[in-house]
Symmetry: C2
Subunit: 489 residues, 2 copies
């Protein structure tokens, strides 16, 4: 099940050869292709769920939900492709009478970048892997995709890859529209991102992995965009009135959130901030009680479990960190035992290591003595995927003071929820400032993710025959800016 670098090159050559044909497909054909991928995945049936569960250790109910999400996001992109906003059409008609010089006819559209390398993620064997969000958005943009399968779920990856290949064939597209390479080490991935045919990279994984790929990509003779989602501890601000009114309830809810899916979400709440007082004490006590009784679920891989234990043990052994709770010890391999720590704002500010991600069911509470301290802890935090406010109406004034800071730290700000749920929709941002991602200008979930794989081209004085169809005067149903004013067709 392992590729050699020659196979990487073969897949990239095929992707390049397929690019012009694939990008010339009309919106309807491309949308039908995306939908067909979803149908082929659904048609695999129970085998997909049992294989993914066996390889990942994730429960079947969760994987069934993830399959629904995977198919759902393919459908969302199909609809978004049809709607056409992503084409970014702009038309500035010629002004032949303008003085001193006439204005030429100028028309702009977004075109796909070229073949895209996608790295499957360990923690979403379906929704963020072979046919996951990166693949769906790149295909929606008109880019062929070469997936580097995640070695933690090779058979699941191959089942999905075969489904995509069937969709490619059924839609009469060139085989090179989709490639799939595998391999346990870094060699295959490195060859892939360095291949001169590859025009962009999508990655979800560790900070170390993302930074290593970014370095390779920047060192290419022709550097390319990389969208690496890497590391986030997703601060949750426990606001004073909310703590006073429902500190214990928040503590219990937090414990459920941080242990969901054995904490293996990019948006897991790994950092809590609160101002000291009775409400925070009630929160701590409730969370501690719940987490002490939390069952230890099976983690995705032995390596992830080892890294988790190392991270949790480092915090436990830190001389300025208090261990509030460790959960139940699980039976069997790679069980992720919940962990809940506390520290002072001073310690957090002095040691950046306390703000690093521990991937798994672990969280650290930073006790702040007042609002100014809370603000300084937020200001010191790294870039994040999310920031959460647990607040009551009386906290609104404080919330509005903290919001401008949170906007600069995170891609998504949420109130009175937990960050782990990520809706696949138009207004979602799953992204954020470094090191949450390597490129804060984008999202990897939601329809806006398609923009990552597009670039603008302007056409000046082309005849209708030469213009791309969507830029012609008679193109139907093309949303555009016409002389700077939005028009829907």
């Amino acid at each position: 099940m392992s590729s050699d670098p020659t196979e990487v090159e073969t897949a990239c050559l095929a992707a390049e050869a397929a690019f012009d044909t694939y990008r010339a497909t009309d919106r309807e054909a491309r949308a039908v292709f995306l939908e067909r991928i979803g149908e082929e995945i659904a048609a695999i049936g129970a085998d997909l769920i049992t294989t993914a569960s066996r390889e990942s250790g994730l429960p079947t109910a969760r994987l069934e939900g993830e399959r629904g999400r995977t198919i759902g996001q393919l459908k969302m992109f199909a609809g978004y492709v049809r709607a056409g906003y992503w084409m970014g059409v702009r038309i500035d008609p010629a002004l032949p009478e303008r003085a001193p010089l006439p204005r030429p006819d100028l028309r702009l559209r977004m075109i796909p970048l070229g073949p895209v390398a996608v790295f499957g993620a360990s923690n979403f064997p379906l929704a963020f892997s072979t046919a996951g969000g990166d693949t769906a958005s790149a295909l929606a943009a008109g880019c062929p995709v070469v997936v580097k399968a995640h070695p933690a779920h090779p058979e699941t990856g191959e089942l999905v890859a075969a489904a995509i290949r069937r969709a490619v064939a059924a839609c009469g597209l060139p085989e090179g529209v989709f490639g799939h390479v595998t391999g346990p080490g870094n060699e295959i991935g490195a060859a892939l991102v360095q291949d001169p045919r590859i025009a962009a990279v999508g990655f979800t994984g560790s900070r170390g992995g993302g930074l290593a790929l970014a370095k390779l990509v920047q060192a290419r003779p022709v550097p390319i965009p990389i969208y690496a989602e890497m590391s986030s501890i997703n601060p949750v601000l426990l606001m004073p009135a909310a703590l006073a009114a429902r500190g214990a309830a928040l503590g219990t809810a937090f414990a459920q959130s941080v242990t969901m899916g054995v904490g293996q979400f990019c948006t897991n709440p790994g950092l809590l901030l609160g101002i000291e007082g009775d409400g925070l004490t009630a929160f701590e006590e409730a969370a501690t009680a719940a987490l002490t009784q939390a069952a230890a679920g099976k983690m995705l891989t032995g390596g992830i479990h080892d890294a988790y234990e190392n991270g949790a043990n480092a915090l436990a052994g830190h001389n300025r960190v208090e261990t509030l709770a460790r959960g139940l010890v699980g039976e069997g391999d790679a069980r992720g035992q919940a962990a809940f720590f506390a520290t002072s704002a001073e310690a957090f500010l002095e040691d950046p290591a306390l703000g690093h991600e521990v991937f798994g069911p672990s969280s650290i509470l930073v006790r702040c003595k007042d609002e100014a301290t809370l603000m300084s802890v937020i200001a010191a935090a790294e870039g994040q995927l999310t920031a959460t406010l647990q607040m009551d109406p009386e906290d609104e004034a404080l919330a509005s003071r903290v919001l401008p800071l949170l906007e600069r730290k995170a891609g998504r700000i949420l109130v009175n929820g937990w960050p782990t749920g990520v809706e696949v929709t138009h207004a979602m941002v799953h992204g954020g400032p470094f090191p949450a991602t390597s490129d804060a200008r984008t999202t990897s979930v939601g329809s806006l993710a398609i923009d990552r794989f597009l670039r603008p081209v302007s056409y000046q004085n082309l005849s209708a025959a030469l213009l791309p169809p969507e830029l012609r005067d008679d193109a139907p149903n093309v949303p555009k800016l016409l002389d700077g004013v939005a028009s829907l067709g």
Copy 2:
């Protein structure tokens, strides 16, 4: 007139301190500010033109046009800020009844990145310098700007900087919205792009300069986006029917284009491609005759002239390059003597140096024996700002075969014009694949340039009181995607 690194830090601290106030301005206030900058520049009067002409050697008529363009693009951004498309608003209302889980309320807007460093360009002392396109688009996005003035026109830069400072004061904005640092070497620029307060960089200049800045930016603890416009030779394809019908006329027109402004445009036609035949011979003869008689204009700086002569002499001395013409030798310092070279497709394909930019009135013609050779030369060319087709209706079939290739090479494709004119409008792309720019996903001219300095933030379940004004249900005149469907208010 030279800053020390402490002044850089002071300017960046002031920009950071001004950021939250400035980005909170409403669209009307920001638009009025942009317009006011234009008014203050206009109010400088003739002194601006004479100073710029003295420092740059550019004729006053050209500089008057450039001033109009500078003011015009500030006005264009004011209008675009008011129109609000750049805010990218998306609203997905809550679906409380959705099963199995309700959908939260999600709202997205683009927010500015933070303080932006802008490097003035040598060749546009007004339109691409202190108050040029990068500054205007960053201010339009809501980012404070710190300009590193170009040392070739320090007094011009200071006149414009003072105008911007007057506009800042007149609009009641914090002083830090605009900073201006100067210095002849690389030290000031390096300190600027490494300052932790700086969130993005705009640069127009040489390939070496752009790559050096990109390296500094990528090595920061927190890497940031850089938009460096660097190097382009702007291929012009002379199509067979056009050559047959009007080869000589095209040659004369080309000679005018390549020598305009002493060839000191990023979009200067530095590469010509044609299939051998009588038409191409007529083109060569006419261009050679015109360029042999071309006057040598004063170049912007002695350094630019030296680099130009080195580049032209290297081509002249290349054993596979034929010198078709050198223009008249000028009197006085730093006169750019036109140069016209020819080579074979084989030589061009074998020596990448023949495809490197020679900034000034120089161009090289690559004679191709057939269409396949023409295609292979285009495929071998680096990324470009523009690609031009000189064509007649009979060339349409060939043009449609070559267009997919040109789209992958250039940010703008034009027919039967010359690439040097760059309209400041909505459908313009002044950008392109590496090394034309460091980031092909954008443009530095036209309203789309504002997107370079924005990133998306998603807000989940925020109360109306906490939501940014443009995301509230009652926000007037906000173009948006509502549940995935465009709406104009």
